[in-house]
């Protein structure tokens, strides 16, 4: 009975006790979720356009953030540093297409996945050789103070993160739906061969899509780096983004956002209310378990394309 109480009754009583605190936890979770979404977005873009499960997205975030910080340490103004970093990411996208993707066309997905893990090693090593492996502070001028709205504490930095993420999603949505490049991207995602046959240059498209996800990585790197400092552990946020991906569906931009928010809230709420009952530190696996249970009912995730199997 006591077990039942600690797991199924007490947490809910706690929640009912102080709704304000619950609200604070939920908002904290939403903010963490925004950060997960930023990383997951990069995965989704590449998966949509080339069917590659880009494990190196986490390392790209680290690489972009390291480049930005490194440039700023050489007294390059922030605005210029961001532009330069973007150019570096475009160059990287070009190299990846030229030396990796082009040679791996038509390979099984798992081969491409493995190649991306190899790419992950390259990014990690290269970023640290170029810019050193100390923890670096990234200051992009976003104030970091808290204020109160109706008894709930909010962090300015988190709000900025939410605003930036929302803007980015809006821009991406317009880009995908309204521009001709966006249409070409969706065509490629649909069917490589058909896209080729109507004259869409596959290679250019790949460079574009990896560049875009490089930009997304840069934004994610700025936000994560601003919060926790630019350091090696940024690579591991890729692992944080994976449950978001399977929950939201690999091919869906809205899925990445909503999945991120859900996982963020799940994690925070479970950590605060169920964490003590489990003995703490459940953040590491709770998102995965939640996503796994969810997948049992909907194997393609929230917004993934319906899986149709034919013999």
């Amino acid at each position: 009975m006591e077990v039942l109480n600690t797991f199924f009754v007490a947490p809910f009583l706690d929640m009912a006790d102080s709704p304000i605190f619950l609200l604070e936890v939920v908002i904290g979770g939403l903010m963490a979720g925004v950060m997960y979404s930023l990383v997951a977005l990069g995965f989704v873009l590449i998966y949509k356009a080339s069917g590659v499960f880009n494990y190196a997205q986490g390392a790209m975030v680290l690489f972009a953030a390291l480049t930005l910080v490194g440039l700023m340490e050489h007294h390059v103004p922030l605005f210029l540093a961001i532009i330069l970093t973007m150019m570096v990411m475009v160059g990287v996208a070009f190299l990846i297409e030229r030396y990796m993707l082009r040679k791996l066309v038509n390979q099984a997905q798992i081969i491409l996945f493995m190649a991306c893990i190899g790419l992950n090693f390259v990014f990690e090593g290269a970023g640290q050789i170029a810019w050193g492996s100390n923890v670096k502070k990234l200051d992009v001028g976003i104030p970091e103070n808290a204020f109160e709205v109706g008894g709930v504490l909010l962090d300015t930095f988190d709000l900025w993160a939410a605003v930036i993420a929302a803007t980015m999603v809006a821009v991406l949505a317009v880009f995908f739906q309204k521009t001709s490049i966006g249409r070409a991207l969706r065509a490629v995602a649909d069917d490589h061969q058909a896209a080729l046959s109507v004259g869409i240059p596959l290679r250019t498209i790949w460079v574009i899509v990896w560049s875009v996800s490089g930009f997304v990585a840069l934004v994610a790197g700025i936000m994560w780096g601003g919060k926790a400092g630019v350091q090696f552990s940024l690579v591991l946020i890729a692992l944080k983004a994976l449950p978001v991906l399977i929950l939201g569906g690999f091919e869906s931009v809205p899925g990445a956002i909503i999945g991120g928010l859900l996982i963020g809230v799940f994690e925070k709420v479970s950590e605060v209310y169920w964490g003590p009952a489990f003995g703490g530190a459940i953040e590491g696996w709770f998102g995965y378990m939640a996503a796994l249970v969810f997948l049992m009912f909907r194997p393609q995730g929230l917004f993934g394309e319906k899986i149709i199997e034919r013999v």
Binding site: Q109, I111, M114, V122, I129, S133, F250, A291, M296, I307
Partner: protein, 359 residues
């Protein structure tokens, strides 16, 4: 000229279905075994045993396990580290609870426990496929390691949270724990690898392996021709986890001596073992072993090569350069031969058959 079937007539079904139908293959295998059992122990010193050979064999065993699941049955798993941890912790608990029990039996029992856990985490594979499944197996990875970290019963309430291999004897020789001779541990690990590799090869070419491959190629079609997905997939998860569990037990008991859950981390085990089977060749026992050799030897080579030719870099720089080269090598191999070392070996055999008159 030397390697061809011509003249080797098979007069019984048994000889036709033999595991190595060609005489040259049999000689070659015998030669490999002689080298592994006699020549290497005579030549190797402690560094070679501890840093190269024992890890190579242990990880080869784990790679065979994962290859059964991923290569033959087509279920991508990133939870190898967790299943190895189950084997290791089960061995620790069993051998401290029953010190009299023969250590080989303990290893096998731990493999069984790992198999049971693997089958539980294999259940989602009936609903979830592809990368969704791969990420779902990460749930097993993180959850199981968290349990071993949190629940003190698993490491016998030791304050440091580590498990340490107790000394156990086999045929009067100490084979586990810190005081065991490297050569004794070498023979134990090698014997496990040989027996398990042979068993895997036989499973893969029998009706079990055919069922796995049918499921891998298209599970709906397999179901229609009468292969039960539930049984087949769970069997693959069970057998694979059994192999991984035994490998995990050997990993702690015959190699590291003591360890925390860190040792079974995703970056330490799960990804490297997946690399091994991809580089070695999916769906091949030989490929698993070759891949394991490559992935364990490459970092050692990269660490030792620059000092050997007189280049001395800082530790930090060297570590980063190693990482880059490792990544580039993996991409390079995937581009050059996506089907892995096993394919290269097949091509070599084909060439030898033609030699010296290729047409």
């Amino acid at each position: 000229m030397f390697y061809r079937e011509a003249g080797q007539f098979k007069s019984t079904y048994q000889s036709d279905q033999a595991i190595f139908p060609i005489a040259q293959d049999r000689w070659f295998m015998a030669l490999v075994l002689v080298v592994a059992y006699v020549a290497i122990p005579m030549a190797a010193d402690e560094y070679w045993f501890q840093a190269v050979l024992i890890p190579f064999y242990v990880l080869a065993l784990a790679a065979i396990g994962l290859n059964i699941l991923t290569g033959y049955a087509g279920q991508v798993s990133l939870g190898t580290g967790a299943f190895m941890a189950v084997g290791a912790y089960a061995t620790y608990k069993l051998s401290t609870a029953f010190p009299e029990l023969n250590i080989v039996i303990v290893f096998l029992m731990s493999g069984m426990i790992a198999a049971a856990v693997g089958m539980i985490f294999g259940l989602p594979s009936l609903r979830i496929k592809g990368f969704y499944l791969a990420v779902a197996t990460l749930a097993a990875q993180f959850f199981i390691l968290w349990v071993f970290n949190k629940v003190e019963w698993f490491f016998n309430y030791s304050p440091s949270g580590t498990i340490t291999a107790p000394p156990r004897e086999l045929f009067g020789y100490l084979v586990t724990g810190p005081r065991a001779e490297p050569i004794a541990r070498y023979y134990v690990v090698l014997t496990f690898l040989v027996v398990f590799a042979l068993a895997a090869k036989n499973m893969a070419r029998g009706h079990i392996g055919r069922a796995w491959m049918a499921i891998r190629d298209m599970d709906i079609a397999a179901e229609i021709i009468g292969i039960r997905p539930l049984h087949t997939k769970l069997l693959a998860f069970g057998v694979s986890s059994f192999y991984c569990g035994v490998a995990g037990a050997l990993y702690i008991f015959c190699w590291l001596g003591s360890a925390e859950t860190e040792a079974f981390d995703i970056l330490n085990i799960s990804f490297p073992v997946l690399f091994m089977i991809i580089i070695g060749g999916l769906g091949s026992v030989l490929g698993s072993i070759l891949g394991a050799a490559f992935i364990t030897l490459l970092p050692i080579f990269l660490t030792n090569a620059p000092p050997a030719i007189g280049i001395h870099l800082g530790t930090e720089l060297q570590k980063n350069i190693e990482e880059i080269i490792f990544g580039v090598m993996i991409i390079f191999f995937l581009i050059v031969e996506p089907a892995g070392f096993n394919r290269l070996w097949q091509i070599t055999k084909e060439k030898m058959r033609m030699w010296p008159f290729p047409y």
